[in-house]
């Protein structure tokens, strides 16, 4: 049928575009490298394989994961404003990172910086709080979870502000810098765990894609069509927690991608999650890779934090889509 063929072709095109972006990004940097340059010099080889490749891969995993989680939360809460940080993960992670910095816990554990581990714990703690509140109320109501998430988010934000207020100027700046997000710390040591969280999280989410379509149509209707709503929500929550915590630990709370990429992709391949899911992975990943590449070249040898750039680059593109001719956002 035309409907499927058209969308499958679109997905293939998006996949190729993502490959091109990822492939090209590794050669671009403070110094543009061609294949022969990399082959010729051991230093170039080291820069390419040890710095750029893990960094580009990290950016792709982070961008695609954030976009996918945004898509999940928008369907789960039937709310176009939901994003990966709606349930307080970003503030939880920030708080965790801040505590680690202020406590002076530096260094790394099997190559992973302690700040990342702190952020991971904070993110998981925030999500655990939300789940605990929801299960205490013995409800799987989306609205309860959403409100609990916002409350938890505020709780951790004010804790973070308290820590910042009490900290020295230098520590405070370090925290602010972390909040902007960035992929500088990327290495194979952080890529490994991130990749495993990504694989588990993405697999779990992809398996639930058809159920997301049903949830978006309303819980009564989904239930009447045979969706086990409580189980579906639990799986999705577990998957997104792993994925977001893993990403935020490495890259900090990078905004915009998780909120906007699902909307962009809905325009391209429709809201059918079987297509929307893969589209979010390709577009989200490419967008963060592109933003990071610009971030590390535009004022080289200094770097712009990627969080600053995602919205700067994605915003106009999104507005162009918003005021474009086709679908409106009346219902998403």
């Amino acid at each position: 049928m035309r409907y499927f063929r058209y969308r499958v072709i679109l997905l293939i095109l998006l996949f190729i575009a993502a490959l091109v972006v990822v492939g090209a990004a590794a050669f671009i940097g403070m110094k543009f490298m061609t294949l022969s340059m990399i082959a010729a010099s051991p230093l170039n080889r080291e820069i390419f394989w040890l710095l750029r490749v893990p960094r580009v891969l990290t950016a792709f995993l982070a961008g695609s994961g954030l976009a996918l989680c945004g898509m999940v939360f928008q369907a789960l809460f039937r709310n176009p404003l939901a994003d990966p940080f709606t349930l307080g993960t970003a503030s939880g992670a920030s708080c965790g990172a801040a505590v680690t910095m202020l406590a002076g816990i530096t260094g790394s554990f099997i190559g992973i910086p302690m700040v990342s581990i702190g952020a991971f714990i904070g993110a998981v703690a925030a999500m655990a709080c939300v789940s605990a509140i929801a299960s205490l109320k013995r409800t799987s109501s989306s609205l309860t979870m959403l409100l609990a998430g916002i409350a938890v988010s505020f709780l951790f934000s004010s804790l973070l502000m308290f820590f910042q207020y009490m900290s020295s100027f230098r520590d405070s700046f370090q925290i602010v810098r972390w909040l902007m997000g960035g992929i500088q710390i990327a290495s194979y040591a952080t890529l490994g765990p991130l990749l495993s969280f990504w694989c588990i999280g993405v697999t779990l989410i992809v398996l639930q894609l058809p159920r997301l379509d049903q949830l978006l149509a309303g819980e009564d209707l989904a239930r009447s069509r045979g969706v086990d709503i409580a189980a579906t929500k639990q799986w999705l929550l577990a998957a997104t927690t792993l994925l977001i915590a893993g990403i935020v630990a490495v890259c900090g709370p990078v905004g915009f991608i998780g909120l906007m990429v699902p909307h962009i992709c809905r325009r391209i391949v429709s809201a059918n999650h079987l297509f929307l899911g893969p589209a979010c992975i390709f577009v989200g990943g490419s967008l963060l890779v592109a933003a990071d590449t610009v971030g590390r070249t535009i004022i080289a040898p200094a770097e712009l934090p990627v969080g600053v750039l995602t919205a700067l680059m994605g915003g106009p593109f999104f507005l162009w889509l918003l005021f474009g001719k086709r679908r409106t956002f009346d219902a998403f």
């Binding site: 049928m1 409907y3 039937r78 398996l207 894609l209 058809p210 159920r211 379509d213 049903q214 978006l216 149509a217 309303g218 009564d220 209707l221 239930r223 009447s224 069509r225 045979g226 969706v227 086990d228 809905r266 429709s270 809201a271 059918n272 079987l274 679908r327 009346d330 219902a331 998403f332």
Partner: protein, 264 residues
């Protein structure tokens, strides 16, 4: 074996505020039941209990001879389809065709890739409900009458023996009501379905349905055939709605209509 057996069920959302009080009735295959009663008398709740969307607090409901709770979710979804009230629907950002395809979910595997069979059924249902012309429109661009038929189409695509409809005729002008009725007649003719409908239109209930289930404050007030209801319709309607009705015959005298008059 009856299609649905409702056995002394009770339900409440909060303690001390019963919504359904020991309701019992039995529905045979291919019957058309109209559930009537005042606002808040428990009609929609009864429908949701039958669809296992709400768990009854006491009593039991059997579908095709087995308790509703004993079915697996998808299994039950192949026996019962449900259309929510127009006011309680969220409109997902899908086209009509995409939305009707969602009704095929109970027949798809865990990963839910729709097959050729699913697409054929969806196309057939679109035609049956006069929604094929709308197939590529997005849901939120449709009128209330069109939406009612699209939601019905999605339920019919589930290919169930039982349809639970919550006020399928509300917000429809006379033409769209007639179109909706035509769709329902065709569906029943083609798939031999049992239909349970919540409705506020007493004339529609009395003229188009085989059985009536009337609730007052969550308790069963009248349960039985429409024919028997009509023998004493004015009195029964007055007791159900606390308002007097006058009786009018149609021009050819075959049908009787009831018009509300004033508070009794």
């Amino acid at each position: 074996m009856s299609a649905i057996n409702v056995n002394a069920i009770s339900f409440h959302y909060t303690e001390n505020a019963p919504v359904l009080k020991t309701v019992s009735f039995e529905v045979q295959e291919k019957e058309r039941w109209a559930i009537i009663g005042k606002n808040g008398s428990g009609k929609s709740t009864l429908l949701k209990c039958i669809g296992n969307l709400l768990k009854v607090k006491s009593g039991s409901i059997s579908v095709e001879g087995k308790p509703v709770t004993s079915y697996r979710f998808k299994e039950l979804a192949r026996l019962i389809a449900y259309v929510p009230q127009a006011g309680n629907r969220s409109l997902p950002p899908y086209s009509v065709r995409e939305f009707v395809m969602l009704g095929r979910f109970p027949y798809q595997g865990f990963f839910g890739l729709p097959g050729l069979q699913d697409r054929k059924i969806a196309e057939a249902v679109l035609q049956l409900t006069d929604t094929d012309a709308l197939a590529d429109r997005l849901l939120h661009t449709l009128s209330g009458g069109e939406l009612q038929r699209v939601f019905l189409a999605a339920a019919v695509a589930q290919k169930t023996g039982i349809l639970l409809l919550d006020e399928p005729m509300s917000f429809l002008d006379p033409l769209h009501q007639a179109m909706m009725q035509r769709s329902l007649d065709r569906i029943q003719e083609e798939f031999a379905v049992t239909i349970l409908t919540v409705t506020h239109d007493v004339n529609h209930a009395l003229n188009r349905f085989s059985h009536i289930c009337a609730l007052t404050n969550g308790a069963p007030f009248y349960i039985g055939t429409t024919v028997r209801f009509k023998e004493n319709a004015r009195k029964l309607l007055q007791d159900i709605y606390s308002i007097t009705f006058s009786e009018i015959s149609s021009c050819n005298g075959h049908l009787k209509y009831y018009l509300p008059e004033g508070v009794a």
